[in-house]
């Protein structure tokens, strides 16, 4: 299958990130926030595989700690966004049409807002920090999920097996949980996989603008942001901070593509000459 190399590359990349996040404590050679000004801005060496930053902190340890922060952020915000999106989407797709129209209007409006500006505005109101980043992410991902869930439930509601379930006397909740959700998991998962790089990107962007992670939190965005000021003197900091972002983005995108291929293959496409 042509998607196999795609699947393996994606899985390995994501796997590396996840493992480094889960084991960031034991794996990190040094304390990520321990300051040691006497060894600042050292290039990569055997003692410090990715060098040190402007405060003498080991960059590798910071990158590993950043994985943990990224993983927590992704899981937390995507989970909440999914939950909200599913509830809103099911209500819109399966409930009365007026309610559906209203929900979609709200979702579409949120999706039209310029994300970074709103993020900065939100940060001004409730203060900067990773929690704010999480809030922004959830607010912008949930409408997209609601859209998918609503579209899929409108399609699935006409399928014979859903009608059969209703004919058997299944209550609305049962139809939603047992028949609708499992059958729309595919497109949803693909969207989630595509969104993970977006989440990371939002965090990096907000931290760069000073509204995201607060020092000394070693998020990837913080590493890149700090290293940016020293890019002429010590370019290894920015490179080290960008490396995991690239791996995570490539991994998630490839996984999403492989998932989409698998879903298409199940529907059976045949090439005719």
């Amino acid at each position: 299958m042509s998607s196999r190399p795609l699947l393996w590359t994606g899985a390995i990349c994501v796997g590396v990130i996840v493992v480094s996040a889960l084991l960031s404590g034991p794996l990190a050679p040094y304390d990520p926030i321990a300051i040691a000004p006497h060894i600042r801005l050292l290039g990569p060496s055997l003692a410090h595989l990715l060098g040190t930053d402007q405060l003498g902190r080991d960059v590798l340890s910071r990158v590993l700690a950043g994985s943990e922060i990224a993983l927590n952020l992704v899981i937390g915000s995507v989970a909440v966004a999914l939950a909200a999106g599913i509830i809103l989407g099911l209500a819109a797709g399966y409930g009365p049409r007026v309610l559906g129209g209203a929900i979609m209007l709200v979702c579409d409006s949120i999706m039209t807002l310029p994300m970074m500006l709103c993020a900065l505005a939100l940060a001004t109101v409730i203060g900067p920090g990773l929690f704010t980043v999480g809030l922004v992410v959830t607010a912008f991902l949930a409408p997209a999920y609601a859209r998918i869930v609503r579209g899929q439930s409108q399609v699935l509601v006409g399928r014979d097996y859903v009608i059969a379930a209703r004919a058997m006397g299944a209550a609305t909740l049962r139809v939603m949980l047992r028949h609708l959700l499992p059958n729309m998991a595919g497109p949803l998962l693909v969207q989630v996989a595509m969104d993970v790089p977006t989440v990371i990107g939002i965090e990096v962007g907000m931290t760069f603008l000073g509204q995201g992670a607060e020092p000394p939190q070693p998020s990837w965005g913080a590493i890149v942001s700090d290293g940016f000021s020293y890019i002429r003197v010590a370019p290894h900091i920015v490179l080290a901070g960008s490396l995991p972002i690239v791996i995570a983005t490539v991994g998630c995108t490839f996984l999403a593509e492989a998932l989409r291929d698998a879903m298409d293959a199940r529907q059976g496409k045949d090439g005719l000459v």
Binding site: D270, G271, L272, V273
Partner: protein, 348 residues
């Protein structure tokens, strides 16, 4: 086997005579006429020892048939008989991964070995197709008129004329409509009109009435009957319904598990079927079954695994008149008045 077939199935009455379209009722006269004149037959499609494999699965197994001008050949088969694959092969639409052996020649050109460009040149010009699902064969986002004009490069007037000929009232209004605005029966008429517009030499119809209800089916069958005059060549109708084929075809080939087990005229097949499979199929037909029948008849057993090599007669495991030799030797081709039958039990 091939020689025997050529002698038996090539009725010279099937030669295209410009002034007279041969139908079953004219056959005996023409037979005398052409035999006297000693004219040779013109075979439009020649299928010799033709097999199609998808991986290890053999969909069509060594079929040999000939279709002459003016012939309307019916291919009778159930699911798994290979009829759809054969229909695709005749339409030059076999998928890329199909492995072909043997020969399927249209006007002398081997269709299966033609390059994609060559096949594309034939489709829509010399070979036209009508499919089972009328919605799937029309582009849902183009108006009928646009589609007909694009197909075979017909002019608007020719398209309107053809719509009228296939029995669609108010053809100008229909030209402006989209496929979803038409009923299944109307869509199938449009599909037939599109196929006839390119003045094809061969019209292949794969289950043309299966998706339609009984009343519409009758109308489409009548339309296909009239279309026989419009096709200057041959027609091939594929169906699982013997009554559909009996209404349209001059000869019918019965397919089982990728092989032709019997070939004959519709009347011969219906009145005196020779092959045990054909007989069993007719017995299962609800229309023929007397009301007093206690149980509904079926054919016990299942189709053989198409990936396994064949030995002996392919129908033997399910055959009610199975002989010991049927499992070992392939059945011989025994000539019948209008075709042949492949069966050990038919000997002498």
């Amino acid at each position: 086997m091939f020689e025997r077939q050529k002698a038996k199935t090539c009725d010279c009455a099937d030669v295209h005579a410009p002034a007279l379209r041969p139908g079953p009722e004219n056959k005996s006269l023409l037979l005398l006429f052409f035999r006297k004149e000693g004219l040779s037959c013109v075979m439009l499609i020649e299928i010799e020892d033709f097999s199609v494999r998808y991986g290890r699965v053999k969909a069509v197994a060594q079929i040999s048939l000939q279709i002459a001008r003016g012939d309307v050949l019916g291919i009778l088969g159930e699911s798994g008989s290979g009829k759809s694959t054969l229909a695709l092969a005749l339409m030059a639409l076999l998928p890329r991964h199909a492995r072909v052996s043997g020969r399927l020649a249209f006007e002398g050109l081997d269709l299966a070995r033609l390059d994609p460009a060559g096949r594309r040149a034939l489709r829509g010009r010399k070979i036209a197709a009508v499919f089972q699902d009328p919605f799937a064969s029309l582009n849902p986002v183009m108006r009928i008129g646009t589609q007909l004009a694009a197909f075979a490069g017909a002019t608007r007037e020719a398209a309107i004329d053809m719509l009228q000929r296939v029995g669609i009232g108010e053809p100008e209004r229909r030209m402006r409509q989209y496929p979803f605005e038409l009923s299944g029966g109307l869509r199938q008429r449009v599909a037939i009109a599109a196929a006839l517009l390119c003045a094809p030499t061969v019209l292949v119809a794969d289950e043309p009435t299966t998706a339609l209800d009984a009343a519409t089916e009758r109308q489409i069958l009548a339309l296909l009957r009239e279309s026989r005059a419009l096709v200057d060549g041959a027609m091939v109708i594929v169906s699982h319904d013997l009554s559909v084929l009996a209404a349209l075809c001059t000869r019918i080939a019965v397919l089982y598990a990728g092989e032709v087990v019997e070939l004959g005229t519709a009347t011969d097949l219906l009145r005196a079927p020779r092959h045990p499979y054909t007989r069993a199929l007719l017995a299962c037909d609800l229309r023929r079954l007397p009301k007093s029948a206690a149980r509904f008849p079926t054919i016990a057993g299942q189709l053989p695994d198409p990936a396994l090599p064949r030995r002996g007669c392919v129908f033997a495991p399910r055959c009610p008149v199975r002989l010991p030799c049927c499992a070992e030797q392939a059945p011989p081709v025994i000539a019948a008045p209008s075709g042949f039958v492949r069966c050990h039990a038919m000997g002498a």
